[in-house]
Amino acid sequence: MTVALLVMLLLAAIGAALVVVTTTETLISASYRSAQEAAHGAEGAVERALHDLSTTPDWSLVLAVPPANLVSTFDDRTSMPRGPDGRRLDLAALTVERQRDSDVRAGPSGFGADSPQWRLYAHAPIEELLPSAAIVLPVYLIVWVADEGLDGDGNPAIDSNGTILVHAEAFGTGGTRRAVQASIRRSAEGVTRVVSWHRVP
């Protein structure tokens, strides 16, 4: 009887350890998958924005002070969309946060009046990027654009050198958040090219 109880106790301990290992593994896998989905979502958002921007004749239109700025057709027309994890995404607050982060690196201290001023350009669930509803991914995408700081025109609402910055963020489940930032340039022939493309930490 005593031996049986001891063995049962040992088996229970081993079982519990196995449950912990497999549960942790499941959580890590889910987190990894969510991060991958969000990272690819952010890239997709940049591509979508590039497509729209390449058809916009003058990028100053998208840099104008809101509400006069032109926005993408990738727009679900909400100001407080619900993220994949159920939380509300306050687009105005996120835009302020984007500006604050940008100012740390490329603020007025470095670029003066040319420092980038970010405009909300596109936002919608990733489903609106996908050709069919066959794949459902819990990712919400937001894209901002800004004039880069070296054009020397002293006005961040005017693109005077055919180069702007695009910043896309993807919000996934479990608080996952991934960002991609690109600077793009339009050549004299009208071809839009990526000057730099970075995943932002």
């Binding site: 031996v3 049986a4 063995v7 040992l10 088996l11 081993i14 079982g15 350890a17 196995l18 290992v21 497999t22 942790t24 593994e25 890590i28 896998s29 990894y32 991060a35 890239e43 690196r105 490329a106 201290s109 470095g110 670029f111 003066g112 040319d114 880069e148 700081g149 070296l150 020397g152 180069t163 910055l165 930032q181 600077s183 340039r185 090219r193 990526v194 000057v195 730099s196 493309w197 970075h198 995943r199 932002v200 930490p201």
Partner: protein, 334 residues
């Protein structure tokens, strides 16, 4: 004391104890067998989880670096990304310590270079009088970070680049000292040339050299200067393959390593490179990892290095991870 009391307090006989032990052993044996199996299972699950986690970590890291390969500073490169001037990926070890010779290629190593997302580029204040001279930076241009000399401090890994055309000259170095100029003395190799202020740009870079140490079964990460450290243990194979745009724009075409060293050649010694490297658009990385403990590895094709497990409870096969990554910054190239 009565006989009955004496008998009750007299304890067990040897025969009784032996019989009890025999019964106990017979009853406990299957339970111990089950327990041992569960223990092996728990051990192998822990090893499997560790194996998968190592695979995820390394795949994520390499994927990120390849995706950003060739990224230039957000602005101020006339032709766009770095990959318009220099190879974003090289199938060889580059850097200050034990570099492979120029125009050599290996499938178990890969060098990647890019400007970090918070990077910038600086111009030279004056022409360099000779290639060993310090690099005078014009810190007055907009966007120069305030720290150090236009953001450069001792230890910054940097690239100096002639932006005239692809292959006009480039050198990676670590800033060894800082006064009015960027010093680039030993252990940095000498620069390939003296750069002119009109066309040269200097920028901070991230340099990653992934190389497979087959003997130690490790994937190593070298930063191009002093740090060469193991990134992941128990790697039994690592291969890097390269793809370029196929003629007619029909999908990517795998390019053999021999095509990446047969010319035409660009650049200046010792940083010469095959121009085909500028055409690389995609990389395929294949990694094979094994469980760390040999008591969860068995024999057969599932295991690159056989272990000593014979039980189905405790077999953790090798994991092979293969993934393709497009070089996002290659699109801005020439």
């Amino acid at each position: 004391m009565s006989d009955e009391v004496k008998k009750r307090e007299g304890g067990f006989t040897l025969i009784e104890i032996l019989v009890a032990l025999a019964i106990l052993t017979i009853a406990a044996a299957p339970m111990l067998y089950v327990t041992a199996g569960a223990q092996r299972l728990a051990h192998s699950q822990s090893e499997a989880a560790d194996l998968h986690q190592r695979a995820r970590v390394i795949a994520e890291k390499i994927q990120r670096d390849i995706a950003m390969a060739g990224a230039g500073p957000p602005l101020d490169l006339p032709l766009g990304s770095l990959s318009a001037y220099i190879p974003a990926v090289i199938p060889a070890r580059t850097g200050a310590r034990s570099p492979d010779a120029a125009l050599t290629a290996f499938d178990d190593r890969c060098s990647i270079v890019y400007v970090p997302d918070d990077g910038w580029s600086a111009r030279l204040a004056v022409d360099m009088p000779d290639q060993s001279a310090g690099i005078a930076i014009d810190a007055s241009i907009p966007g120069c970070p305030a720290a150090g000399l236009c953001g450069f401090t001792a230890g910054t890994r940097a690239l100096i680049l002639d932006t005239t055309v692809a292959g006009a000259g480039h050198d990676a170095f670590s800033v060894t000292a800082l006064d009015a100029e960027l010093a680039h003395g030993p252990p940095n190799p000498p620069l390939s040339k003296a750069y002119g202020a009109a066309t040269a740009r200097v920028m901070p870079i991230v340099q990653r050299v992934y190389h497979f140490d087959r003997a130690a079964r490790r994937l190593m990460l070298y930063d191009g200067y002093q740090s060469d450290v193991p990134l992941v243990d128990n790697v039994v194979d690592a291969r890097f393959e390269y793809f370029v745009d196929a003629a007619g724009g029909v999908g990517p075409r795998r390019i053999a390593l021999t095509e990446l060293i047969d010319g035409p050649v660009a650049g200046l010694p010792p940083n010469q490179f095959d121009r085909d490297l500028l055409r690389i658009r995609l990389m395929r990385v294949t990694l094979r990892l094994q469980a760390a403990a040999d008591d969860v590895r068995g024999g057969g094709a599932w295991f690159a290095r056989p272990g000593r497990s014979t039980s189905g409870y405790s077999l953790v096969p090798d994991v092979e991870v293969s993934f393709d990554v497009a070089l996002r910054n290659a699109r801005g190239g020439s």
